[in-house]
């Protein structure tokens, strides 16, 4: 410290003085300065009073921190097979003592082993059934599912299409008249017991003078027998069962121009024939006069008698 001691730096010199860092000349200079300025050095009586003296209290458990029982660690590590080379040498040195050898052996004997005689006897309850499905069966199931789905879609399409067609049919049929032909066809195999009656609903030109009233035409056309033969006729057929054995609709591509209902009629007793005759007459009532094909007229008349 080559600078002169003055009022601005004297505190630094004071700190060095307290800590004993000043040489004799600097100390003399500082004391001279303080003599010249007694108000600055009045508090400095004893430099040692500024020092913090550490307490003399000590940690009383030093022994507990010592590794006096290190051999346990070495022996357990030996059991655990985790000794380093250095630790192994350290243990080897300990094993010169027979007591240590015995202790190490005891650690090894403390190693546990499971009793293989103890069994869990309910394994079968824990197991799950394995379902074996051959590939062929998988393919068959897949094909069946696909078929069902396709069939469902096809039926759905058919129903929707039919509904649309029926709705369209209202419009189409609003301007047309129908020629109904009912004819009886004798079954060639068994002429006496089975007959087929066909009701042909054919589109003709829209020149029917009896149907000038548009609403009337619609109403007339929208009769169950004409537009919805399957759903509406079938209950009637049930009434005359067992005479009517089969009912089927043979759809022709242009559904609205030509529709054929085929009723297979099994000739029954007099009552059954009368029932069917009534049914036939209802058809006429609903759909108006029925025109017969010439060649089959006689057979129809015989039925209609």
């Amino acid at each position: 410290m080559n600078r002169m001691i003055n009022i601005k730096n004297y505190e630094a010199y004071l700190l060095d003085y307290i800590e004993g860092n000043l040489d004799s000349s600097q100390e003399a200079e500082l004391l001279s300065f303080l003599n010249r300025h007694p108000e600055l050095g009045k508090d400095i009586v004893d430099p040692d009073s500024y020092k913090i003296v550490p307490p003399t209290t000590g940690y009383n458990n030093n022994e507990s921190l010592k590794k006096a029982n290190n051999h346990s660690y070495l022996m357990i590590s030996h059991v655990e097979k985790s000794l380093t080379a250095f630790e192994q040498r350290e243990l080897d040195s300990l094993l010169c003592d027979d007591a240590m050898k015995s202790e190490l052996e005891m650690y090894h004997r403390c190693k546990l082993s499971a009793d293989s005689n103890i069994k869990y006897y309910n394994k079968n309850k824990l197991k799950k059934a394995v379902v074996f499905v051959p590939n062929k069966l998988k393919y068959a199931i897949a094909a069946t599912i696909a078929l069902v789905i396709i069939s469902g879609l096809a039926i759905n399409w058919f129903i929707e299409t039919s509904a649309n067609l029926n709705q369209k049919g209202l419009a189409l049929y609003s301007n047309i008249d129908f020629e109904k032909t009912l004819h009886r066809i004798n079954n060639p195999d068994n002429q006496n017991t089975k007959s087929i009656v066909e009701i042909n609903t054919a589109k003709t030109k829209a020149n029917n003078t009896d149907c000038n009233d548009q609403n009337n035409i619609i109403k007339k056309v929208y009769t169950p027998v004409t537009l919805l033969p399957m759903s509406k006729i079938k209950p009637k057929i049930i009434e005359i069962e067992p005479c009517i054995a089969q009912l089927k609709t043979r759809e022709i591509p242009e559904l609205y121009e030509y529709q054929t209902i085929t009723i297979t009629y099994k000739k029954g007793n007099e009552k059954e024939d009368n029932n069917f005759r009534d049914y036939f007459n209802k058809l006429k009532d609903i759909n108006g006069p029925v025109k017969l094909l010439k060649s089959q007229k006689q057979e129809l008349l015989s039925l209609n008698q």
Binding site: M106, L112, S113, I118, Y120, A129, V130
Partner: protein
């Protein structure tokens, strides 16, 4: 893991899990429940667990179930088997295995679990840490303390033999 592999784990590990659970709890019925529960959970999750991980999953489940049982109701454990609260004199036993089983009962739950996993199954420290949810250092400490206790419990070789 498919059903076939699952059934294979039953064959391979049911006995081991049962012995582990029995040693942990000391109670046959509780051990059987633990085995059933462990395999039931394995089956529920068998779609997400690889076959080579099934063993760890089973022991982990068994460990956790045992700890739960001890913590919820320690009275469930049949103390008559080998959970005597009072240390039994080694002199009463001539068989070291029997003495050791009694000593195991004196360990705390976690110490018992880790030392059994180590000795019965030969798991590494890291594997035990994964199974028990401890870290590797904790596992080492528990094993160290357990071995020290066991050694002290059985006394000197002369007393045992």
């Amino acid at each position: 893991m498919n059903t076939k592999e699952y059934n294979k784990t039953v064959e391979q590990f049911a006995d081991k899990v049962y012995r582990f659970a029995l040693s942990l709890t000391g109670n046959k019925h509780v051990a059987e429940d633990i085995v059933q529960d462990s395999f039931e959970r394995l089956w529920i999750n068998h779609g997400d667990i690889a076959f080579d991980k099934a063993r760890s999953f089973l022991f982990s489940t068994a460990h956790n179930r045992s700890i739960d049982i001890f913590r919820k109701d320690k009275r469930m454990v049949d103390t008559d088997n080998f959970r005597a609260e009072v240390s039994i004199s080694v002199d009463q036993y001539s068989d070291l295995k029997e003495v050791l089983h009694n000593a195991i009962g004196q360990l705390n739950d976690v110490q018992r679990s880790v030392v059994l996993l180590r000795d019965y199954e030969g798991y590494s420290y890291q594997e035990i840490a994964d199974i028990t949810g401890l870290n590797e250092t904790q596992v080492k400490v528990y094993i160290f303390r357990a071995r020290q206790f066991l050694k002290q419990y059985i006394g000197t070789m002369q007393n045992v033999l």
